[in-house]
C-alpha cells in the first residue's frame, strides 16, 4: 500500500490560491482607489512598496504567464506591428502587445500603474521596457539603478562593494520620498522590519528547499519544478502567505526525502541548468530531459530575483542595506566571472554530471557569454556541457526536433561515458 503522504502537492494548491488572491486584489485596486506600482523581478523592492499600500504588478510575470498559456504569439505580432523589431526581447513585446490589446493577462485584468519602479538589476532592457511603459501609460518612472556586480572577493560571491550598496541605499531613500509624496502615507519603518523578517525566514526556507537537491536521489528538480516554487518569493515576498507557502513546501520536500520520492522515477543523471526556460514549450522541453532520467540539482534561472541560495538575505536589523544587497545580487546582475564560479561550485557541490545551457535569443543578459562559458566548462574544466538554443515565449524559435536531437545525443554520450568509467573503475 502506498504511504499516506500528508504534504505532496499541497504547496501547489496553496500557491494557486495565493496567486488568485493577489490578482483579485489587483483587479479591485482601481475601484478601491488604491495605488499600483509596476516593478521588475530582478532587484524588486516589494516590501518597500507595500509599505505605502501599493499593489504590485510584475510585467515579466504577465509575459511568462502568456507564454505558458500559449497566448504569446498574437501579442508578439501586435508589438511588431507597433514597430518593435523581431530581434528584441519577447517579454517586452509580449507585454506591450498585451497592453495594446486590452491588458487582460491569463491571470486577470491588469490595472494601470500609479508608479513605475524600474528596478534596473541585471538587464538594460528593463530600462527600455519601462521607458516605453512610462510613455504609453503617461505614468511617473523611478529608476532604481543597481550597479553590475563585479568580483570583489571570491570567498564571498554575494558581497557587493560598499560603494554599490551606499549608492543603492541613497536611491531607496529617494524612492521612499517619492512614494510618500505620491500616496500621502508616511513611511513605516516598523512595518518594513516586520515584513523583512518574514522575507528572511521565507528565504531561509527557500534556500533550504533548493539545497535539498544535494540528496541522492534529489527530492526536487531545481529547474523544471523550482521555476514554479520560486513565484511567491518573488511576487509575494514579505507577506504572511509567502511564508506559509515555504513552510508548506519545506514539509513537502522533507517528506519526499523521507520516502525517497523524486521528480523522476529513477534519477540517472544530475545536471546544473543555466538559462531561462522556453515557457511556450515548457512541458515538451521537460519531457526531453525526463526521458533520460535527468534531474536538475541546481539552476540559475530561479535566482533572477535574488541569489538566496548563495547566502543573500533580507535583514530586519539592516533594512535598507540588506535590500540593496538583494537588489545587487539578482543572478543576471552578476558578471560572467561570478556566474561561472557559481556554476562550477554547484556542479561540484551538488555532484552534477553535466552542465546544461539553455540559451534564449530574447535575453542577451543571459545569453551573451553563454557560449564562452561552454568553452570554459568543456575545455578548461572538463565538465560535459550541453548547449541548446530557443526562446522564452516566442515559439518561432523553438525547433523541437533539433533540440531533441541534441539532448538525445548528449545524454547518450554521457551514459556511455559513465558506463566506460564504471567499467574502468571495476
Amino acid at each position: 500500500m502506498p504511504p499516506d503522504f500528508r504534504f505532496q502537492g499541497a504547496g501547489r494548491h496553496l500557491q494557486k490560491d495565493m496567486l488568485g488572491d493577489w490578482f483579485r486584489a489587483l483587479e479591485g485596486a482601481p475601484q478601491a482607489g488604491e495605488p499600483v506600482a509596476y516593478q521588475m523581478i530582478g532587484g524588486n523592492v516589494a516590501e518597500l512598496l507595500r509599505n505605502f499600500g501599493y499593489h504590485l504588478v510584475f510585467p515579466e510575470v504577465n509575459a511568462l504567464q502568456c507564454g505558458i498559456k500559449h497566448a504569446s504569439a498574437d501579442l508578439l505580432l501586435k508589438a511588431e506591428d507597433l514597430g518593435y523589431s523581431p530581434d528584441v526581447c519577447g517579454y517586452v513585446k509580449n507585454d506591450i502587445g498585451l497592453l495594446h490589446s486590452g491588458n487582460v493577462s491569463p491571470m486577470g485584468k491588469l490595472p494601470p500603474p500609479s508608479l513605475l519602479v524600474c528596478t534596473y538589476s541585471g538587464c538594460r532592457t528593463y530600462i527600455k521596457w519601462f521607458e516605453a511603459l512610462a510613455e504609453y501609460y503617461q505614468a511617473p518612472l523611478f529608476v532604481l539603478d543597481v550597479p553590475y556586480r563585479r568580483v570583489s572577493d571570491l570567498s564571498d560571491l554575494a558581497k557587493p562593494r560598499e560603494e554599490d550598496i551606499a549608492y543603492v541605499v541613497a536611491q531607496l531613500e529617494e524612492l521612499i520620498t517619492v512614494c510618500e509624496r505620491q500616496t500621502g502615507r508616511r513611511f513605516d519603518m516598523d512595518r518594513l522590519r516586520e515584513d523583512l523578517a518574514r522575507s528572511q525566514e521565507a528565504e531561509d526556507l527557500w534556500a533550504g528547499i533548493m539545497d535539498a537537491a544535494r540528496h541522492r536521489p534529489s527530492p526536487i528538480d531545481a529547474y523544471f519544478e523550482a521555476v514554479f516554487f520560486m513565484a511567491p518569493i518573488n511576487v509575494l515576498r514579505g507577506s504572511e502567505a509567502c511564508l506559509r507557502y515555504y513552510r508548506q513546501t519545506w514539509a513537502e520536500i522533507q517528506e519526499r526525502v523521507e520516502f525517497g520520492l523524486g521528480p523522476v522515477p529513477e534519477e540517472r543523471v544530475r545536471v546544473v541548468i543555466e538559462g531561462p526556460p522556453p515557457w511556450m514549450r515548457f512541458r515538451d522541453f521537460w519531457d526531453m530531459f525526463k526521458a533520460w532520467g535527468v534531474v536538475a540539482v541546481a539552476s540559475t534561472y530561479v535566482h533572477v530575483g535574488g541569489l538566496y541560495q548563495a547566502g543573500v538575505r533580507h535583514d530586519p536589523l539592516r533594512p535598507l542595506e540588506s535590500m540593496a544587497e538583494v537588489c545587487s545580487n539578482a543572478y543576471c546582475n552578476w558578471n560572467l566571472e561570478l556566474r561561472a564560479e557559481l556554476l562550477h561550485r554547484w556542479v561540484r557541490d551538488f555532484q552534477a554530471d553535466a552542465l546544461v545551457i539553455h540559451s534564449v535569443k530574447s535575453c542577451r543578459s543571459f545569453s551573451v557569454g553563454q557560449a564562452d562559458t561552454r568553452e570554459h566548462f568543456t575545455k578548461d574544466l572538463g565538465i560535459p556541457t550541453l548547449f541548446v538554443e530557443s526562446d522564452l515565449v516566442d515559439g518561432r524559435y523553438f525547433s523541437a526536433a533539433q533540440i531533441k536531437n541534441r539532448v538525445d545525443a548528449f545524454f547518450e554520450r554521457l551514459a556511455h561515458k559513465k558506463l566506460v568509467e564504471a567499467g574502468g573503475a571495476a
Binding site: L82, G83, Y84, S85, D87, V88, C89, V92, Y120, C123, R124, T125, I127, K128, W129, E131, A132, E135, V143, D145, P147, Y148, R150, E163, A166, Y167, A170, Q171, E174, N335, L336, E337, R339, A340, S359, K361, R364, S365, S367, V368, G369, Q370, A371, D372, E375, H376, E389
Partner: protein, 383 residues
C-alpha cells in the same frame, strides 16, 4: 597638406584591421595604448594616465567572424562579435587593456568574455549611473572613475597627478571643440564637407595622438571653409541610431548619393560624448563626473538629463532637417527599442522618418539606396 590628403591620411589609421599605423606609432614612440569599447568611455582618464586612448569600432567589413562564433551567438550585434574576433586573432594585442562602459547587456557581458579570454591584460568595466537626481549618483560615478584610475596606475606604474588630468582635459576639450566646429560647418554648408570626409576625420581622431589630430582638424577646417561650390538640390537629413556599431563607409556615401545632405548624426558618439568642456578647476574626477551627468549626450544607451525624444526633435529642427533617417545596427537592442518611441515623437512633431537596419559587414546597399531615393523624392515633392 590639402583636405584630400588629410582625409586620406586619417583613413589609413582606421581602414586597416591590423592597426598598422597605430602599431607603427607605438613602436616608434614607445607609447602604450588602451582600447575603448563604445560609447561612453572616459578617454580623459586614459590619456591622463599616459596611455593613448584608442576608440575601437569592431572589424567593420574588413574581418570575417571565424573564432568569435564559438563564443558569441549570431543573434548578437556584429560589433560585439567582431571586436572579440579582432582580439582572438591577436589584432588587438597592442592594447594594454580594454575599457567597457555599461551601455547594454551585450557590452556588459562582453567585458566578462574579455576577462576570461585575455587574462594577461586588464578589462575595466564602468557603470554609468542611470540617475542624475541625487548627489549619490555623482559620487558613485566618481568612484567608478577612481577605480579606472587605479587600474591604469597599476598598469603604468605611476600615479596620475592633477596636472596630468588638466592637460588631458584641455587637449580633449580642444579636440571636441574643433569637431563641433566641423559639424557646424557641414550643417551650414554641407556642400563644402561630405559626411564621408567628416566621418573619416572624426574617427581617426579617436586613435591617433590627440595633438597631431588637433593640428589636422585645424587645417581641415580652414581648407573646407575655403572650398567653393554651391548647394545641390538635396534634402537635409539627420541620421540616428548608429552610435555604437558603425555603418560601412559605402553606406554613408550611398545615403548622400541618393540625394541627401546628412546635416547631423550620432556616429562615433563616444568621441563627442560630452556636450560641454570639462572644467580645469577643482578635483579632476569630480569635474569629469559632474560634466558627464550634466552634459553627457543623450542616447539609447544612457538615460541622460535630457529626454531623448524631444532632444531628437530639437536636433532635427536645429539642423533644419527635412527628415530623420534611422540607421540602426541589426540586433542593437537599445536602438531598436528607442526607435519606436523616437518615431512617435517625430510623428507628433510632423517630422518624416525613414527606417532601416544595417550590419557593419554589409557591402551591398542597392535596396537601401532605393529606399532613400524614394524618401528623398517624397520630401522634394512635399516641400
Amino acid at each position: 597638406m590639402n583636405l584630400e590628403s588629410i582625409v586620406a591620411e586619417c583613413r589609413e589609421w582606421f581602414a586597416d584591421p591590423d592597426f598598422s599605423r597605430l602599431r607603427g606609432h607605438l613602436a616608434a614612440t614607445g607609447e602604450h595604448a588602451v582600447g575603448l569599447f563604445p560609447v561612453y568611455t572616459p578617454e580623459e582618464i586614459v590619456l591622463a594616465a599616459g596611455f593613448l586612448p584608442v576608440h575601437t569600432y569592431g572589424g567593420g567589413n574588413l574581418v570575417e567572424i571565424d573564432h568569435a562564433d564559438s563564443r558569441i551567438q549570431s543573434f548578437v550585434c556584429s560589433i560585439c562579435r567582431s571586436t572579440l574576433e579582432l582580439g582572438l586573432t591577436a589584432r588587438l594585442d597592442w592594447a594594454e587593456g580594454f575599457v567597457f562602459p555599461s551601455i547594454c547587456d551585450v557590452a556588459r557581458n562582453l567585458s566578462g568574455v574579455w576577462t576570461r579570454n585575455f587574462p594577461d591584460r586588464f578589462a575595466a568595466y564602468i557603470h554609468f549611473p542611470e540617475k542624475d537626481s541625487i548627489p549619490a549618483a555623482r559620487q558613485y560615478l566618481r568612484t567608478e572613475f577612481a577605480r579606472l584610475e587605479h587600474i591604469l596606475e597599476r598598469r603604468s606604474g605611476r600615479s596620475i597627478r592633477r596636472e596630468d588630468y588638466h592637460r588631458a582635459f584641455a587637449v580633449l576639450n580642444e579636440q571636441r571643440k574643433l569637431l563641433r566646429q566641423l559639424y557646424t560647418l557641414r550643417s551650414e554648408q554641407p556642400w563644402k564637407l561630405t559626411t564621408l570626409e567628416l566621418y573619416t576625420l572624426t574617427r581617426a581622431g579617436g586613435m591617433m595622438p590627440r595633438e597631431q589630430h588637433i593640428e589636422m582638424l585645424r587645417l581641415a577646417l580652414a581648407e573646407a571653409g575655403a572650398r567653393v561650390g554651391k548647394p545641390q538640390d538635396r534634402i537635409r537629413v539627420v541620421v540616428e541610431g548608429s552610435f555604437c556599431e558603425q555603418p560601412p563607409l559605402d553606406l554613408l556615401m550611398a545615403i548622400e548619393d541618393a540625394g541627401c545632405y546628412i546635416v547631423d548624426d550620432d556616429f562615433l558618439l563616444g568621441q563627442r560624448y560630452l556636450e560641454q568642456d570639462v572644467p580645469l578647476a577643482g578635483d579632476p574626477l569630480d569635474a569629469l563626473a559632474e560634466t558627464f551627468l550634466e552634459a553627457g549626450v543623450p542616447t539609447a544607451t544612457y538615460r541622460s538629463r535630457r529626454p531623448r525624444g524631444p532632444a531628437l526633435v530639437e536636433k532635427a529642427r536645429a539642423a533644419r532637417a527635412d527628415g530623420v533617417i534611422f540607421c540602426i545596427a541589426k540586433f542593437c537592442e537599445p536602438a531598436l527599442y528607442d526607435y519606436v518611441l523616437l518615431n512617435r515623437e517625430l510623428e507628433k512633431a510632423g517630422i518624416p522618418a525613414l527606417y532601416f537596419e544595417f550590419e557593419e559587414k554589409a557591402n551591398v546597399f542597392d535596396n537601401m539606396r532605393m529606399q532613400v531615393e524614394s524618401f528623398v523624392e517624397s520630401r522634394l515633392l512635399f516641400s
